[in-house]
Symmetry: C2
Subunit: 137 residues, 2 copies
DNA sequence: TTGGTTGCAAACAATTTGCATAAAT
DNA sequence: ATTTATGCAAATTGTTTGCAACCAA
């Protein structure tokens, strides 16, 4: 039995074709750091012959988010994008011209964040860093 | 003549009542780290007896953004929030228990961000960093 | 006067929801 | 058989636009 099914069961969701397909779609882009919108997922599924509704894609992605399976980002693009949640943390760089999303991780920044919080008597629970960038000419 | 009028003139915008009121509204919240949505601005203006349209608020805020008077953020919730642009940049630290917002600025992080972008062939247009924190005990 | 500006209503885009049908357990 | 999920269409939310009336220069 494919591992997707286990993930779904653990999340308390019935194992249905749309959910499996959507999960696979996200997994297939996990390595390329490609961030898909609901519309993207919908189009790609239809292109590969699946008969799903856009509403279902939205519903399922939201359920996945609630279950902690995916993370939803609301970058400055006007629509949400989704990525499979992974345990290794990273930040994002958004190319405002192409809407491409790159991931990065920087020790120095991570360390400074903790130092800054500590200086104010706080500890960091979570953080969110996005760089909006443009190709240098 | 109030200074708002000069700002508007410089931006090539006629000095009208809605524009003055909206600008004042933003100025009144400039010291607190409060970010207002278009709807917020609209409601507050109506509450203080002004007869403006929501569409006007959107239009004026967009004009202010184009003129560089305000900055529009599209984070978290899916609706935009606006703040007067100030020349001194800062990031935010949110106390998740009290919901308090602190502002901070860190040279080291700023510098690293530019280096990271440059390493990938990009230049930074904007960035967004929020630390979610809790009081250390 | 006259061209920019407004408020309203209608148009839009992204996302959500109601409901009758269909599929999973 | 029962419960949950689906697809569709209609509803909602946040935002933009067309237009006739209006106001600052």
């Amino acid at each position: 039995m494919p591992s997707e099914n286990v993930e779904l069961r653990k999340a308390g969701l019935k194992v249905t074709l749309p959910r499996i397909k959507i999960l696979q779609m996200l997994e297939s882009t996990a390595d390329t750091a490609e961030h898909l919108s609901a519309e993207d997922v919908y189009q790609r599924l239809r292109d590969s012959g699946e008969d799903v509704g856009l509403a279902t894609v939205y519903r399922v992605l939201t359920q996945f988010e609630t279950a902690g399976l995916v993370v939803r980002h609301n970058f400055e693009t006007g629509h949400s994008v989704f990525e499979l949640s992974s345990d290794d943390h990273h930040d994002h760089m958004v190319d405002v011209e192409s809407n491409e999303v790159l991931e990065f991780f920087d020790e120095i920044i991570e360390k400074r964040q903790h130092e800054i919080a500590a200086e104010h008597g706080y500890e960091i629970i979570d953080h969110y860093l996005v760089l909006y960038v443009r190709k240098k000419d």
